[in-house]
Amino acid sequence: MAKRIDVSGLTAYYGSHKAIEDISMTIEPRTVTAFIGPSGCGKSTFLRTLNRMHEVTPGGRVEGKVLLDDEDLYGAGVDPVSVRREIGMVFQRPNPFPTMSIFDNVAAGLRLNGMHKKSELQDVVEKSLRGANLWNEVKDRLNKPGAGLSGGQQQRLCIARAIAVEPKVLLMDEPCSALDPISTLAIEDLIGELKERFTIVIVTHNMQQAARVSDRTAFFNLAGVGQPGRLVEIDDTERIFSNPSVQATEDYISGRFG
Protein backbone atom coordinates (compact mmCIF):
# COMPACT_ATOMS: atom_id res chain seq x y z
CA MET A 1 0.00 0.00 0.00
CA ALA A 2 2.73 2.48 0.93
CA LYS A 3 4.75 3.79 -1.95
CA ARG A 4 8.30 4.93 -2.56
CA ILE A 5 9.15 8.50 -3.52
CA ASP A 6 12.10 9.32 -5.77
CA VAL A 7 13.05 12.96 -6.14
CA SER A 8 15.65 14.06 -8.65
CA GLY A 9 16.94 17.54 -9.44
CA LEU A 10 13.98 19.35 -7.86
CA THR A 11 14.01 23.15 -7.84
CA ALA A 12 11.07 25.23 -6.61
CA TYR A 13 10.30 28.90 -7.11
CA TYR A 14 8.02 31.53 -5.62
CA GLY A 15 7.62 33.80 -8.62
CA SER A 16 11.19 34.69 -9.55
CA HIS A 17 12.58 33.77 -6.13
CA LYS A 18 14.26 30.38 -6.05
CA ALA A 19 13.30 28.76 -2.73
CA ILE A 20 15.03 25.37 -3.01
CA GLU A 21 17.56 24.14 -5.51
CA ASP A 22 18.49 20.82 -7.02
CA ILE A 23 17.23 18.41 -4.39
CA SER A 24 17.46 14.67 -4.94
CA MET A 25 16.53 11.95 -2.47
CA THR A 26 14.78 8.63 -2.13
CA ILE A 27 12.12 7.97 0.48
CA GLU A 28 11.48 4.28 1.07
CA PRO A 29 7.99 2.89 1.71
CA ARG A 30 6.94 2.23 5.33
CA THR A 31 9.62 4.47 6.78
CA VAL A 32 9.54 7.75 8.63
CA THR A 33 11.77 10.40 7.12
CA ALA A 34 12.38 13.59 9.10
CA PHE A 35 13.41 16.92 7.58
CA ILE A 36 15.42 19.17 9.87
CA GLY A 37 17.13 22.48 9.30
CA PRO A 38 16.96 26.16 10.20
CA SER A 39 13.87 28.27 9.50
CA GLY A 40 13.55 29.42 5.92
CA CYS A 41 15.74 26.68 4.50
CA GLY A 42 12.93 25.27 2.39
CA LYS A 43 11.90 22.14 4.31
CA SER A 44 8.21 22.98 4.17
CA THR A 45 8.45 24.14 0.57
CA PHE A 46 10.07 20.86 -0.39
CA LEU A 47 7.43 18.92 1.53
CA ARG A 48 4.70 20.79 -0.30
CA THR A 49 6.23 19.99 -3.68
CA LEU A 50 5.78 16.29 -2.86
CA ASN A 51 2.00 16.46 -3.21
CA ARG A 52 1.80 19.45 -5.52
CA MET A 53 0.55 21.79 -2.80
CA HIS A 54 3.39 24.16 -3.63
CA GLU A 55 1.63 25.35 -6.75
CA VAL A 56 -1.43 26.38 -4.73
CA THR A 57 0.61 29.39 -3.56
CA PRO A 58 0.37 32.16 -6.18
CA GLY A 59 3.55 32.16 -8.25
CA GLY A 60 4.69 28.74 -7.03
CA ARG A 61 6.28 26.50 -9.68
CA VAL A 62 8.57 23.51 -9.75
CA GLU A 63 11.25 22.06 -11.99
CA GLY A 64 12.58 18.52 -11.73
CA LYS A 65 11.07 15.11 -11.12
CA VAL A 66 9.17 13.50 -8.28
CA LEU A 67 8.49 9.82 -8.93
CA LEU A 68 5.84 8.00 -6.91
CA ASP A 69 6.61 4.33 -7.67
CA ASP A 70 7.94 5.26 -11.14
CA GLU A 71 5.15 7.70 -11.98
CA ASP A 72 6.21 11.34 -12.34
CA LEU A 73 3.96 13.63 -10.28
CA TYR A 74 4.91 16.54 -12.51
CA GLY A 75 4.49 14.62 -15.77
CA ALA A 76 2.25 15.87 -18.55
CA GLY A 77 -1.42 15.17 -17.95
CA VAL A 78 -1.07 14.42 -14.24
CA ASP A 79 -4.02 15.79 -12.24
CA PRO A 80 -2.84 17.43 -9.01
CA VAL A 81 -6.14 16.39 -7.40
CA SER A 82 -5.39 12.67 -7.90
CA VAL A 83 -1.82 13.24 -6.66
CA ARG A 84 -3.20 14.66 -3.42
CA ARG A 85 -5.49 11.66 -3.00
CA GLU A 86 -2.38 9.47 -3.02
CA ILE A 87 -0.26 11.75 -0.85
CA GLY A 88 -2.05 13.26 2.13
CA MET A 89 -0.92 16.10 4.32
CA VAL A 90 -1.16 17.27 7.95
CA PHE A 91 -0.42 20.91 8.66
CA GLN A 92 1.41 22.83 11.36
CA ARG A 93 -1.68 24.32 12.93
CA PRO A 94 -4.66 22.03 13.50
CA ASN A 95 -7.26 23.08 10.92
CA PRO A 96 -10.50 21.13 11.30
CA PHE A 97 -13.34 22.48 9.15
CA PRO A 98 -15.19 24.83 11.52
CA THR A 99 -18.65 24.23 10.05
CA MET A 100 -18.46 20.44 10.38
CA SER A 101 -18.92 17.99 13.23
CA ILE A 102 -16.18 15.57 14.26
CA PHE A 103 -17.79 12.86 12.16
CA ASP A 104 -18.16 15.13 9.13
CA ASN A 105 -14.58 16.30 9.45
CA VAL A 106 -13.25 12.77 9.17
CA ALA A 107 -15.76 11.90 6.46
CA ALA A 108 -15.03 15.14 4.58
CA GLY A 109 -12.41 13.74 2.24
CA LEU A 110 -14.54 10.72 1.31
CA ARG A 111 -17.75 12.67 1.04
CA LEU A 112 -16.20 15.42 -1.02
CA ASN A 113 -14.91 12.72 -3.31
CA GLY A 114 -18.29 11.16 -3.79
CA MET A 115 -18.76 8.44 -1.15
CA HIS A 116 -22.14 8.87 0.48
CA LYS A 117 -23.24 5.49 1.86
CA LYS A 118 -23.87 6.06 5.55
CA SER A 119 -22.76 2.61 6.72
CA GLU A 120 -19.50 2.68 4.77
CA LEU A 121 -18.77 6.18 6.00
CA GLN A 122 -19.37 5.09 9.59
CA ASP A 123 -16.94 2.21 9.22
CA VAL A 124 -14.23 4.40 7.72
CA VAL A 125 -14.72 7.16 10.30
CA GLU A 126 -14.42 4.72 13.19
CA LYS A 127 -11.39 3.04 11.65
CA SER A 128 -9.67 6.37 10.98
CA LEU A 129 -10.41 7.75 14.44
CA ARG A 130 -9.11 4.53 15.99
CA GLY A 131 -6.08 4.84 13.72
CA ALA A 132 -5.48 8.32 15.05
CA ASN A 133 -5.94 7.19 18.69
CA LEU A 134 -8.88 9.54 19.07
CA TRP A 135 -11.85 7.15 18.98
CA ASN A 136 -12.17 6.60 22.72
CA GLU A 137 -12.11 10.31 23.43
CA VAL A 138 -14.74 11.36 20.90
CA LYS A 139 -16.97 8.31 20.25
CA ASP A 140 -19.78 9.78 22.38
CA ARG A 141 -19.75 13.18 20.73
CA LEU A 142 -19.21 12.55 17.05
CA ASN A 143 -21.88 15.11 16.22
CA LYS A 144 -20.24 17.92 18.19
CA PRO A 145 -18.21 20.53 16.26
CA GLY A 146 -14.61 19.54 15.58
CA ALA A 147 -13.41 22.99 16.63
CA GLY A 148 -14.52 22.27 20.21
CA LEU A 149 -11.73 19.73 20.79
CA SER A 150 -8.41 20.61 22.42
CA GLY A 151 -5.45 21.48 20.22
CA GLY A 152 -3.89 18.03 20.47
CA GLN A 153 -7.21 16.34 19.79
CA GLN A 154 -7.80 18.64 16.83
CA GLN A 155 -4.44 17.68 15.37
CA ARG A 156 -5.26 13.98 15.76
CA LEU A 157 -8.63 14.72 14.16
CA CYS A 158 -6.74 16.22 11.21
CA ILE A 159 -4.58 13.10 11.03
CA ALA A 160 -7.72 10.94 11.08
CA ARG A 161 -9.15 13.09 8.32
CA ALA A 162 -5.97 12.68 6.27
CA ILE A 163 -5.76 8.87 6.67
CA ALA A 164 -9.49 8.38 6.05
CA VAL A 165 -8.93 8.75 2.30
CA GLU A 166 -6.29 5.97 2.47
CA PRO A 167 -3.33 7.82 1.00
CA LYS A 168 -0.09 5.99 0.18
CA VAL A 169 2.11 8.67 1.71
CA LEU A 170 1.48 11.03 4.63
CA LEU A 171 3.28 14.36 4.77
CA MET A 172 3.42 16.18 8.11
CA ASP A 173 4.50 19.79 8.34
CA GLU A 174 5.62 20.41 11.94
CA PRO A 175 2.53 18.62 13.27
CA CYS A 176 3.49 19.07 16.93
CA SER A 177 4.82 22.62 17.00
CA ALA A 178 1.54 24.02 18.34
CA LEU A 179 1.04 21.24 20.89
CA ASP A 180 2.02 20.54 24.50
CA PRO A 181 4.43 17.67 25.35
CA ILE A 182 1.66 15.20 26.21
CA SER A 183 -0.20 15.72 22.93
CA THR A 184 3.16 15.62 21.15
CA LEU A 185 3.88 12.24 22.72
CA ALA A 186 0.46 10.98 21.61
CA ILE A 187 1.18 12.03 18.05
CA GLU A 188 4.70 10.60 18.05
CA ASP A 189 3.30 7.25 19.22
CA LEU A 190 0.74 7.51 16.48
CA ILE A 191 3.44 8.12 13.86
CA GLY A 192 5.14 4.91 15.01
CA GLU A 193 1.90 2.99 14.42
CA LEU A 194 1.06 4.68 11.14
CA LYS A 195 4.37 3.79 9.56
CA GLU A 196 3.21 0.18 9.38
CA ARG A 197 0.74 1.33 6.71
CA PHE A 198 2.03 4.56 5.24
CA THR A 199 5.21 6.20 4.06
CA ILE A 200 5.64 9.17 6.36
CA VAL A 201 7.58 12.37 5.86
CA ILE A 202 7.73 14.80 8.76
CA VAL A 203 9.16 18.30 9.02
CA THR A 204 10.26 19.19 12.53
CA HIS A 205 12.24 21.81 14.39
CA ASN A 206 12.57 19.50 17.34
CA MET A 207 15.78 17.52 17.00
CA GLN A 208 14.83 15.05 19.74
CA GLN A 209 11.59 14.42 17.93
CA ALA A 210 13.43 13.67 14.70
CA ALA A 211 15.70 11.29 16.61
CA ARG A 212 12.73 9.61 18.33
CA VAL A 213 10.36 9.04 15.44
CA SER A 214 12.35 8.82 12.23
CA ASP A 215 14.30 6.11 10.44
CA ARG A 216 16.00 8.51 8.07
CA THR A 217 16.82 12.19 8.57
CA ALA A 218 17.50 14.83 5.95
CA PHE A 219 19.31 18.03 6.88
CA PHE A 220 18.53 21.16 4.86
CA ASN A 221 20.46 24.39 4.96
CA LEU A 222 20.87 27.56 2.99
CA ALA A 223 24.15 29.16 2.01
CA GLY A 224 23.08 32.66 3.04
CA VAL A 225 20.21 35.14 3.18
CA GLY A 226 18.38 35.21 -0.15
CA GLN A 227 20.07 32.01 -1.32
CA PRO A 228 17.97 28.95 -2.14
CA GLY A 229 17.78 26.11 0.37
CA ARG A 230 19.68 22.90 -0.34
CA LEU A 231 19.72 19.36 0.91
CA VAL A 232 22.96 18.97 2.84
CA GLU A 233 22.69 15.26 3.50
CA ILE A 234 20.24 12.45 4.11
CA ASP A 235 21.17 9.35 6.02
CA ASP A 236 19.97 6.91 8.65
CA THR A 237 18.81 8.89 11.69
CA GLU A 238 21.30 7.14 13.95
CA ARG A 239 24.20 8.10 11.75
CA ILE A 240 23.02 11.71 11.35
CA PHE A 241 22.81 12.13 15.11
CA SER A 242 25.99 10.24 16.00
CA ASN A 243 28.40 10.60 13.14
CA PRO A 244 27.19 12.80 10.27
CA SER A 245 29.38 12.99 7.21
CA VAL A 246 29.07 16.77 6.81
CA GLN A 247 30.43 19.20 9.37
CA ALA A 248 27.48 21.60 8.98
CA THR A 249 25.06 18.89 10.08
CA GLU A 250 27.03 18.20 13.22
CA ASP A 251 27.26 21.94 13.98
CA TYR A 252 23.49 22.30 13.59
CA ILE A 253 22.60 19.26 15.66
CA SER A 254 24.98 20.12 18.45
CA GLY A 255 23.78 23.73 18.54
CA ARG A 256 26.95 25.34 17.16
CA PHE A 257 25.00 26.74 14.30
CA GLY A 258 25.53 30.17 12.76
Binding site: P58, V83, N95, G148
Partner: protein
Amino acid sequence: MSTAAVVTGKHAGSLRGARLPKWAPLAIAAVSIALGLGISAAAGLHSKIQWALIAALLHVVGTYGIAARVEGRRQAKDRVATSLVWVAFLLAVVPLASLVWSTVRRGVKVLDLYFLTHSMGVVADSEPGGGIYHAIIGSLEQIGLATLIGAPIGVLTAIYLVEYGRGRLAKSVTFFVDVMTGIPSIVAGLFILSIMLMLDLQPFGFAGSLALAILMMPVVVRSTEEMLKLVPNELREASLALGVPKWRTILKVVLPTSIGGITTGIMLAVARIAGETAPVLLLVFGNPFINNNPFEGAQASLPLYIYQQYSQSAGSPHAFNRAWAASLTLIAFVMILNLAARGIARWKAPKTGR
Protein backbone atom coordinates in the same frame (compact mmCIF):
# COMPACT_ATOMS: atom_id res chain seq x y z
CA MET B 1 11.65 61.27 43.80
CA SER B 2 11.40 64.15 41.41
CA THR B 3 9.85 62.21 38.50
CA ALA B 4 7.06 60.85 40.69
CA ALA B 5 6.36 64.36 41.86
CA VAL B 6 5.92 65.51 38.27
CA VAL B 7 3.67 62.59 37.36
CA THR B 8 1.26 62.62 40.26
CA GLY B 9 1.26 66.32 41.05
CA LYS B 10 0.27 67.01 44.66
CA HIS B 11 0.85 63.53 46.05
CA ALA B 12 4.57 63.17 45.62
CA GLY B 13 5.83 59.62 46.09
CA SER B 14 2.35 58.10 46.20
CA LEU B 15 0.71 55.98 43.52
CA ARG B 16 -2.71 57.28 44.51
CA GLY B 17 -3.96 60.60 43.17
CA ALA B 18 -7.16 62.54 43.77
CA ARG B 19 -10.13 61.18 41.78
CA LEU B 20 -13.38 62.85 40.88
CA PRO B 21 -16.40 61.00 42.29
CA LYS B 22 -18.29 58.65 39.95
CA TRP B 23 -21.27 60.98 39.61
CA ALA B 24 -19.05 63.88 38.49
CA PRO B 25 -19.47 63.48 34.68
CA LEU B 26 -23.25 63.26 35.03
CA ALA B 27 -23.30 66.29 37.32
CA ILE B 28 -21.17 68.28 34.90
CA ALA B 29 -23.50 67.27 32.05
CA ALA B 30 -26.58 68.34 34.04
CA VAL B 31 -25.04 71.68 34.99
CA SER B 32 -23.95 72.24 31.35
CA ILE B 33 -27.47 71.57 30.07
CA ALA B 34 -28.98 73.87 32.69
CA LEU B 35 -26.45 76.59 31.83
CA GLY B 36 -27.07 76.05 28.11
CA LEU B 37 -30.80 76.51 28.64
CA GLY B 38 -30.21 79.51 30.87
CA ILE B 39 -27.89 81.24 28.41
CA SER B 40 -30.32 80.59 25.57
CA ALA B 41 -33.23 82.00 27.55
CA ALA B 42 -31.21 85.05 28.58
CA ALA B 43 -29.99 85.74 25.07
CA GLY B 44 -33.38 85.00 23.53
CA LEU B 45 -32.23 82.09 21.37
CA HIS B 46 -35.10 79.88 20.31
CA SER B 47 -33.33 77.15 18.36
CA LYS B 48 -32.96 73.86 20.27
CA ILE B 49 -29.81 73.12 18.32
CA GLN B 50 -28.16 76.26 19.62
CA TRP B 51 -28.71 75.51 23.29
CA ALA B 52 -27.69 71.89 22.80
CA LEU B 53 -24.45 72.99 21.16
CA ILE B 54 -23.78 75.47 23.96
CA ALA B 55 -24.44 72.71 26.50
CA ALA B 56 -22.12 70.28 24.68
CA LEU B 57 -19.35 72.88 24.51
CA LEU B 58 -19.77 73.77 28.21
CA HIS B 59 -19.68 70.09 29.10
CA VAL B 60 -16.38 69.47 27.34
CA VAL B 61 -14.71 72.66 28.62
CA GLY B 62 -16.12 72.16 32.13
CA THR B 63 -14.93 68.58 32.29
CA TYR B 64 -11.44 69.58 31.31
CA GLY B 65 -11.28 72.49 33.74
CA ILE B 66 -12.59 70.59 36.75
CA ALA B 67 -10.63 67.42 36.04
CA ALA B 68 -7.42 69.36 35.44
CA ARG B 69 -7.78 71.09 38.82
CA VAL B 70 -8.61 67.97 40.81
CA GLU B 71 -6.94 65.07 39.01
CA GLY B 72 -4.15 66.55 36.90
CA ARG B 73 -3.65 67.19 33.18
CA ARG B 74 -3.37 63.59 31.96
CA GLN B 75 -6.63 62.46 33.55
CA ALA B 76 -8.27 65.66 32.33
CA LYS B 77 -7.34 64.81 28.74
CA ASP B 78 -8.70 61.31 29.26
CA ARG B 79 -12.00 62.71 30.53
CA VAL B 80 -12.23 65.19 27.64
CA ALA B 81 -11.70 62.35 25.16
CA THR B 82 -14.43 60.34 26.91
CA SER B 83 -16.87 63.25 26.89
CA LEU B 84 -16.11 63.97 23.21
CA VAL B 85 -16.99 60.36 22.41
CA TRP B 86 -20.25 60.76 24.32
CA VAL B 87 -21.10 64.00 22.52
CA ALA B 88 -20.39 62.36 19.16
CA PHE B 89 -22.54 59.39 20.16
CA LEU B 90 -25.46 61.65 21.10
CA LEU B 91 -25.09 63.69 17.91
CA ALA B 92 -25.39 60.45 15.95
CA VAL B 93 -28.21 58.91 17.98
CA VAL B 94 -30.47 61.94 18.45
CA PRO B 95 -31.39 62.29 14.74
CA LEU B 96 -31.90 58.52 14.45
CA ALA B 97 -34.11 58.33 17.52
CA SER B 98 -36.09 61.39 16.48
CA LEU B 99 -36.56 59.97 12.97
CA VAL B 100 -37.86 56.67 14.29
CA TRP B 101 -40.03 58.44 16.87
CA SER B 102 -41.70 60.84 14.43
CA THR B 103 -42.23 58.06 11.86
CA VAL B 104 -43.85 55.84 14.46
CA ARG B 105 -45.93 58.67 15.95
CA ARG B 106 -47.34 59.80 12.61
CA GLY B 107 -47.29 56.38 10.97
CA VAL B 108 -49.53 54.53 13.42
CA LYS B 109 -52.49 56.85 12.73
CA VAL B 110 -53.76 54.89 9.73
CA LEU B 111 -51.60 51.78 9.92
CA ASP B 112 -53.92 48.82 10.45
CA LEU B 113 -54.86 45.54 8.82
CA TYR B 114 -57.20 47.32 6.39
CA PHE B 115 -54.38 49.65 5.33
CA LEU B 116 -52.05 46.70 4.68
CA THR B 117 -54.59 44.67 2.68
CA HIS B 118 -56.19 47.28 0.40
CA SER B 119 -55.01 49.25 -2.59
CA MET B 120 -55.62 52.85 -3.65
CA GLY B 121 -57.72 51.65 -6.57
CA VAL B 122 -60.91 53.64 -6.10
CA VAL B 123 -59.66 56.14 -3.54
CA ALA B 124 -58.66 59.60 -4.66
CA ASP B 125 -55.36 60.84 -3.20
CA SER B 126 -57.07 63.58 -1.20
CA GLU B 127 -59.65 61.28 0.47
CA PRO B 128 -59.25 59.05 3.54
CA GLY B 129 -59.14 55.24 3.23
CA GLY B 130 -57.16 53.14 0.82
CA GLY B 131 -53.95 51.26 1.61
CA ILE B 132 -50.61 49.99 0.46
CA TYR B 133 -51.29 46.39 -0.52
CA HIS B 134 -50.45 47.10 -4.17
CA ALA B 135 -47.22 48.86 -3.13
CA ILE B 136 -46.17 45.99 -0.85
CA ILE B 137 -46.79 43.49 -3.65
CA GLY B 138 -44.84 45.65 -6.09
CA SER B 139 -41.94 46.18 -3.68
CA LEU B 140 -41.68 42.49 -2.79
CA GLU B 141 -41.75 41.40 -6.43
CA GLN B 142 -39.30 44.01 -7.66
CA ILE B 143 -36.87 43.52 -4.76
CA GLY B 144 -37.21 39.74 -4.97
CA LEU B 145 -36.43 39.66 -8.68
CA ALA B 146 -33.58 42.14 -8.25
CA THR B 147 -32.11 39.92 -5.52
CA LEU B 148 -32.50 36.82 -7.69
CA ILE B 149 -30.44 38.54 -10.36
CA GLY B 150 -28.04 40.64 -8.31
CA ALA B 151 -27.13 38.30 -5.44
CA PRO B 152 -25.91 35.27 -7.48
CA ILE B 153 -23.97 37.42 -9.92
CA GLY B 154 -22.46 39.39 -7.04
CA VAL B 155 -21.50 36.29 -5.06
CA LEU B 156 -20.04 34.56 -8.12
CA THR B 157 -18.04 37.68 -9.04
CA ALA B 158 -16.64 37.81 -5.51
CA ILE B 159 -15.73 34.12 -5.68
CA TYR B 160 -13.92 34.77 -8.95
CA LEU B 161 -12.05 37.73 -7.49
CA VAL B 162 -10.97 35.98 -4.30
CA GLU B 163 -10.42 32.39 -5.43
CA TYR B 164 -9.44 32.58 -9.08
CA GLY B 165 -8.78 36.16 -10.15
CA ARG B 166 -5.17 36.97 -11.00
CA GLY B 167 -3.69 39.67 -13.15
CA ARG B 168 -5.30 42.29 -15.28
CA LEU B 169 -8.82 40.89 -15.63
CA ALA B 170 -9.29 40.68 -11.86
CA LYS B 171 -7.89 44.18 -11.40
CA SER B 172 -10.25 45.64 -13.99
CA VAL B 173 -13.23 43.78 -12.49
CA THR B 174 -12.37 45.24 -9.07
CA PHE B 175 -12.04 48.69 -10.63
CA PHE B 176 -15.42 48.51 -12.35
CA VAL B 177 -17.10 47.18 -9.22
CA ASP B 178 -15.73 50.24 -7.41
CA VAL B 179 -17.07 52.46 -10.18
CA MET B 180 -20.46 50.74 -9.99
CA THR B 181 -20.62 51.39 -6.23
CA GLY B 182 -20.66 55.07 -7.05
CA ILE B 183 -23.40 54.97 -9.69
CA PRO B 184 -26.28 57.23 -8.60
CA SER B 185 -29.55 55.31 -8.61
CA ILE B 186 -31.12 57.68 -11.13
CA VAL B 187 -28.32 56.89 -13.60
CA ALA B 188 -28.96 53.16 -13.29
CA GLY B 189 -32.63 53.97 -13.92
CA LEU B 190 -31.81 56.05 -16.99
CA PHE B 191 -29.61 53.25 -18.34
CA ILE B 192 -32.47 50.75 -18.23
CA LEU B 193 -34.88 53.44 -19.48
CA SER B 194 -32.73 53.96 -22.58
CA ILE B 195 -32.99 50.24 -23.34
CA MET B 196 -36.72 50.33 -22.68
CA LEU B 197 -37.13 53.22 -25.11
CA MET B 198 -35.01 51.45 -27.73
CA LEU B 199 -37.27 48.41 -27.51
CA ASP B 200 -40.35 50.61 -27.31
CA LEU B 201 -41.57 49.11 -24.02
CA GLN B 202 -44.05 50.51 -21.49
CA PRO B 203 -43.10 50.73 -17.77
CA PHE B 204 -43.22 47.40 -15.91
CA GLY B 205 -41.94 46.00 -12.61
CA PHE B 206 -39.11 43.87 -13.96
CA ALA B 207 -37.45 46.89 -15.57
CA GLY B 208 -37.21 48.37 -12.08
CA SER B 209 -35.76 45.09 -10.82
CA LEU B 210 -33.00 45.30 -13.43
CA ALA B 211 -32.00 48.79 -12.30
CA LEU B 212 -32.13 47.72 -8.65
CA ALA B 213 -29.98 44.67 -9.46
CA ILE B 214 -27.34 46.99 -10.95
CA LEU B 215 -27.34 48.98 -7.72
CA MET B 216 -27.24 45.88 -5.58
CA MET B 217 -24.45 43.98 -7.33
CA PRO B 218 -21.40 46.03 -6.26
CA VAL B 219 -22.55 46.02 -2.64
CA VAL B 220 -22.88 42.23 -2.69
CA VAL B 221 -19.52 41.81 -4.44
CA ARG B 222 -17.71 43.99 -1.91
CA SER B 223 -19.18 42.42 1.20
CA THR B 224 -18.86 38.84 -0.10
CA GLU B 225 -15.26 39.50 -1.10
CA GLU B 226 -14.41 40.62 2.43
CA MET B 227 -16.14 37.58 3.91
CA LEU B 228 -14.32 35.14 1.61
CA LYS B 229 -11.00 36.77 2.45
CA LEU B 230 -11.71 36.06 6.12
CA VAL B 231 -11.76 32.30 5.50
CA PRO B 232 -8.32 31.07 6.60
CA ASN B 233 -6.15 29.74 3.80
CA GLU B 234 -5.37 26.72 5.97
CA LEU B 235 -8.92 25.45 5.47
CA ARG B 236 -8.60 25.63 1.69
CA GLU B 237 -5.24 23.85 1.88
CA ALA B 238 -6.61 21.21 4.22
CA SER B 239 -9.35 20.44 1.76
CA LEU B 240 -7.07 20.50 -1.30
CA ALA B 241 -4.62 18.20 0.49
CA LEU B 242 -7.43 15.67 0.90
CA GLY B 243 -7.59 15.46 -2.87
CA VAL B 244 -10.72 17.56 -3.18
CA PRO B 245 -10.96 19.58 -6.40
CA LYS B 246 -10.87 23.34 -6.05
CA TRP B 247 -14.49 23.96 -7.06
CA ARG B 248 -15.71 21.46 -4.46
CA THR B 249 -13.44 23.02 -1.87
CA ILE B 250 -15.05 26.39 -2.54
CA LEU B 251 -18.55 24.92 -2.53
CA LYS B 252 -18.23 22.68 0.52
CA VAL B 253 -15.63 24.36 2.71
CA VAL B 254 -15.16 28.04 1.82
CA LEU B 255 -18.79 29.00 1.26
CA PRO B 256 -20.26 27.18 4.30
CA THR B 257 -17.61 28.79 6.50
CA SER B 258 -18.50 32.27 5.30
CA ILE B 259 -22.22 31.84 4.54
CA GLY B 260 -23.32 33.82 7.60
CA GLY B 261 -21.39 36.89 6.55
CA ILE B 262 -22.39 36.55 2.92
CA THR B 263 -26.07 36.39 3.89
CA THR B 264 -25.69 39.47 6.05
CA GLY B 265 -24.08 41.29 3.12
CA ILE B 266 -26.91 40.32 0.78
CA MET B 267 -29.54 41.38 3.31
CA LEU B 268 -27.87 44.76 3.74
CA ALA B 269 -27.79 45.18 -0.03
CA VAL B 270 -31.50 44.30 -0.14
CA ALA B 271 -32.16 46.87 2.57
CA ARG B 272 -30.27 49.42 0.51
CA ILE B 273 -32.35 48.90 -2.65
CA ALA B 274 -35.65 48.59 -0.75
CA GLY B 275 -35.71 52.36 -0.28
CA GLU B 276 -34.78 53.34 -3.85
CA THR B 277 -37.32 55.67 -5.45
CA ALA B 278 -35.71 57.25 -8.50
CA PRO B 279 -35.26 54.23 -10.79
CA VAL B 280 -38.67 52.87 -9.77
CA LEU B 281 -40.29 56.19 -10.66
CA LEU B 282 -38.67 56.09 -14.11
CA LEU B 283 -39.19 52.44 -14.93
CA VAL B 284 -42.18 51.15 -12.96
CA PHE B 285 -44.10 54.42 -12.96
CA GLY B 286 -46.55 53.72 -10.14
CA ASN B 287 -50.07 52.35 -10.24
CA PRO B 288 -52.93 52.76 -7.75
CA PHE B 289 -54.35 49.37 -8.71
CA ILE B 290 -53.08 45.93 -7.71
CA ASN B 291 -50.84 44.49 -10.40
CA ASN B 292 -49.45 41.08 -9.49
CA ASN B 293 -47.53 40.64 -12.72
CA PRO B 294 -44.07 42.26 -12.58
CA PHE B 295 -43.48 41.55 -16.28
CA GLU B 296 -46.35 43.60 -17.63
CA GLY B 297 -47.88 46.95 -16.78
CA ALA B 298 -47.00 49.65 -14.29
CA GLN B 299 -46.65 48.68 -10.62
CA ALA B 300 -46.34 50.53 -7.35
CA SER B 301 -43.64 50.21 -4.71
CA LEU B 302 -43.39 51.45 -1.14
CA PRO B 303 -40.87 54.29 -1.62
CA LEU B 304 -42.62 55.37 -4.79
CA TYR B 305 -45.99 55.28 -3.00
CA ILE B 306 -44.59 57.50 -0.21
CA TYR B 307 -43.23 59.96 -2.74
CA GLN B 308 -46.43 60.11 -4.75
CA GLN B 309 -48.72 60.42 -1.72
CA TYR B 310 -46.61 63.34 -0.56
CA SER B 311 -46.15 65.13 -3.87
CA GLN B 312 -49.38 64.53 -5.76
CA SER B 313 -52.03 64.98 -3.08
CA ALA B 314 -52.04 68.79 -2.92
CA GLY B 315 -51.42 68.79 0.81
CA SER B 316 -54.29 66.52 1.83
CA PRO B 317 -53.73 65.35 5.46
CA HIS B 318 -55.10 61.90 4.60
CA ALA B 319 -52.43 61.39 1.97
CA PHE B 320 -49.78 62.61 4.42
CA ASN B 321 -50.96 60.09 7.01
CA ARG B 322 -50.81 57.31 4.41
CA ALA B 323 -47.29 58.38 3.41
CA TRP B 324 -46.13 58.21 7.03
CA ALA B 325 -47.75 54.82 7.55
CA ALA B 326 -46.07 53.52 4.40
CA SER B 327 -42.74 54.91 5.66
CA LEU B 328 -43.22 53.06 8.90
CA THR B 329 -43.99 49.87 6.99
CA LEU B 330 -40.84 50.31 4.91
CA ILE B 331 -38.66 50.92 7.97
CA ALA B 332 -40.18 47.89 9.68
CA PHE B 333 -39.54 45.78 6.56
CA VAL B 334 -35.86 46.81 6.43
CA MET B 335 -35.49 46.27 10.16
CA ILE B 336 -37.00 42.80 9.95
CA LEU B 337 -34.58 42.01 7.11
CA ASN B 338 -31.63 43.16 9.21
CA LEU B 339 -32.78 41.11 12.19
CA ALA B 340 -33.23 38.09 9.93
CA ALA B 341 -29.71 38.60 8.60
CA ARG B 342 -28.31 38.73 12.11
CA GLY B 343 -30.23 35.63 13.04
CA ILE B 344 -28.92 33.74 10.02
CA ALA B 345 -25.37 34.94 10.68
CA ARG B 346 -25.54 33.69 14.25
CA TRP B 347 -27.21 30.43 13.27
CA LYS B 348 -24.69 29.66 10.53
CA ALA B 349 -21.57 30.96 12.30
CA PRO B 350 -18.84 28.34 12.79
CA LYS B 351 -19.42 26.72 16.15
CA THR B 352 -16.84 25.95 18.76
CA GLY B 353 -19.07 23.67 20.81
CA ARG B 354 -17.79 25.08 24.08
